[in-house]
């Protein structure tokens, strides 16, 4: 399976997992969205040297991942390029901030190193939290929750259509790649001479397909907003979920959890 096929399969797998989960989940997508937003806000709000504090935020990821039976291995396999990018944010810090904060023999840890790891964790945790949200409520769940929050319908529709058109674009690219490969055996990738024509054709064909999809929507009464099934969830459980996580996450943010646990021993 090549990369394009894998990308299409991954999107469909996410859709399928989310659809399979829909019936079981009793938590309203809005609660999950609110908790994820709160989690990201609290995660990025940690001071740059508070490595212990931010480390404790992993609790949410672990519990959600285990509870929802989401494989972290699969997750890492899918989003490692984004994680790499997010992790690379503080890469220059050790060279700028060289003040030593901890020393043991010849081994010295500088504040720059600590802030680099903190920044990396902030990025990685935020991306992982978003991934878990998509895996549990899906793009449609996120979009319908955004509409409940009165986010403009234009924005929400663009978000949903981008998700759908991404598949169209990938499938077109895959078809073209297959046609190319069959007539260029032994070639690795697309020859540089064909890049321009390939990109142009891909754009034209994707626009064509997107136009047909749009026409199909128009013919079925589309007027600018994709109306999905209203997300469901048990009210009590959804409120309980949001309140519990708000308390836990706020507690982790305010209290030095790792130090408190350490002091017990």
């Amino acid at each position: 399976m090549n990369r394009l096929q894998k990308a299409v399969k991954d999107i469909h797998t996410v859709d399928a997992k989310e659809a399979g989960r829909k019936g079981q989940s009793k938590v309203h997508p809005l609660s999950r969205l609110a908790v994820t937003v709160l989690y990201i806000l609290l995660t990025v709000s940690f001071p740059k040297y508070d490595l212990g504090g931010i480390g404790a935020m992993v609790v949410y990821l672990l519990i959600t991942g285990i509870w929802e039976e989401i494989s972290f291995r699969e997750a890492l396999g899918r989003i490692w390029p984004v994680l790499l990018l997010a992790g690379a944010v503080g890469i220059a810090n050790p060279f700028v901030d060289r003040k030593v904060c901890w020393e043991s023999g010849s081994l010295a840890v500088t504040y720059g190193m600590v802030s680099m790891v903190t920044l990396m964790l902030k990025g990685i945790f935020s991306v992982m939290a978003s991934y878990l949200l998509i895996m549990t409520v899906g793009m449609e769940g996120i979009c319908s929750s955004l509409r409940v929050l009165h986010v403009p319908k234009e924005f929400v529709t663009i978000l949903l259509l981008m998700h759908r058109y991404l598949i169209v674009l990938l499938k077109e690219a895959e078809r073209m790649m297959q046609a190319y490969r069959l007539r260029a055996p032994g070639q690795k990738g697309i020859h540089v001479n064909a890049w321009g024509a390939f990109a142009g054709q891909l754009l034209l064909r994707s626009v064509d397909r997107a136009q047909t999809v749009y026409e199909s929507m128009l013919l079925r009464g589309y007027t600018g907003e994709i109306i999905g099934k209203r997300p469901v969830g048990k009210r009590g459980i959804s409120i309980g979920y949001a309140v519990s996580w708000t308390l836990v996450l706020a507690g982790i943010r305010i209290l030095p959890v790792f130090q408190m646990v350490g002091s017990l021993f």
Partner: protein, 244 residues
């Protein structure tokens, strides 16, 4: 009463080359009409004009008593269901249920009504079992049936089908013919599959280079070897056997 009435229709795309010339015909309520012709005869363009997907025509098109013009498009599209040639493009949501429910939801039905319409459309197409199936996991034939269900859930008065049997295997094609024969609404089917037209439509319109060459009983037109061959077509396969 006429469900569709076209008078002196002429149409050109933006390149000014006319693809339809002075077309006139009417389709009665409940009638099944086959639209046949070689590639480029103007079949798909004609269907698109009927639902306002192509603009800027001359002449008159009336569908369900309404002129096909911008101000009436919402009402016309509620009356006419259009099934695209390419089911992949027609189905764009994740599951069959969600896709079939897309239209009724847009027309403001309650979730109970939506569910009723979706289940009825799926039942008509004999695909109730595919309700929660992910679209990408379906075969070409299943996708075609699902794409017709997306239209049936809107309970249209007129069904316009563009090459409905394309890419179907013989069994699925036979199922589709059986299902379409069971649908009592007005049907206009643009197709190269003359055997299918033979099985479903009592009347056929033969187009060539954007002109109506013949409009009459399906059996008469599809048995006329010279007429078909002069217009880039061949006898239906079932008829060809008689000549062997």
């Amino acid at each position: 009463m006429d469900d569709i009435k076209i008078e002196d229709l002429t149409f050109a795309y933006s390149n000014k080359i006319e693809v339809l010339h002075h077309i006139s015909f009417a389709v009665d309520k409940g009638e099944a009409v086959g639209l046949i012709g070689a590639n480029g005869a103007g079949k798909s363009t004609l269907l698109k004009l009927l639902v306002g997907l192509a603009e800027g025509y001359q002449g008159s098109i009336i569908l369900g008593g309404l002129g096909v013009e911008k101000k009436n498009l919402a009402q016309i599209r509620a009356k006419a269901g259009y099934v695209f040639q390419d089911s992949e493009s027609q189905l764009f949501l994740s599951t069959v249920y969600e896709d079939v429910a897309f239209g009724p939801r847009n027309y403001g039905y309650t979730e109970e009504e939506v569910e009723g319409r979706v289940m009825e459309a799926l039942r008509k197409m004999h695909i109730e079992g595919l309700k929660d199936r992910q679209i990408y996991r379906m075969s070409g034939g299943q996708k075609k049936l699902a794409s017709i269900a997306t239209i049936l859930s809107l309970e249209p008065e007129v069904m316009l089908l563009d090459e409905p049997s394309i890419a179907l295997d013989p069994k699925n094609r036979r199922t589709l013919i059986h299902i379409l024969n069971g649908i009592k609404e007005t049907k206009v089917i643009a197709s190269h599959d003359l055997d299918m037209v033979w099985d479903i439509c009592e009347r056929t319109i033969l187009l060539s280079d954007g002109r109506v060459i013949k409009d009459g009983k399906t059996r008469e037109i599809l048995m006329d070897k010279e007429l078909l061959e002069a217009n880039g077509l061949e006898l239906p396969l079932s008829m060809q056997r008689q000549y062997i």
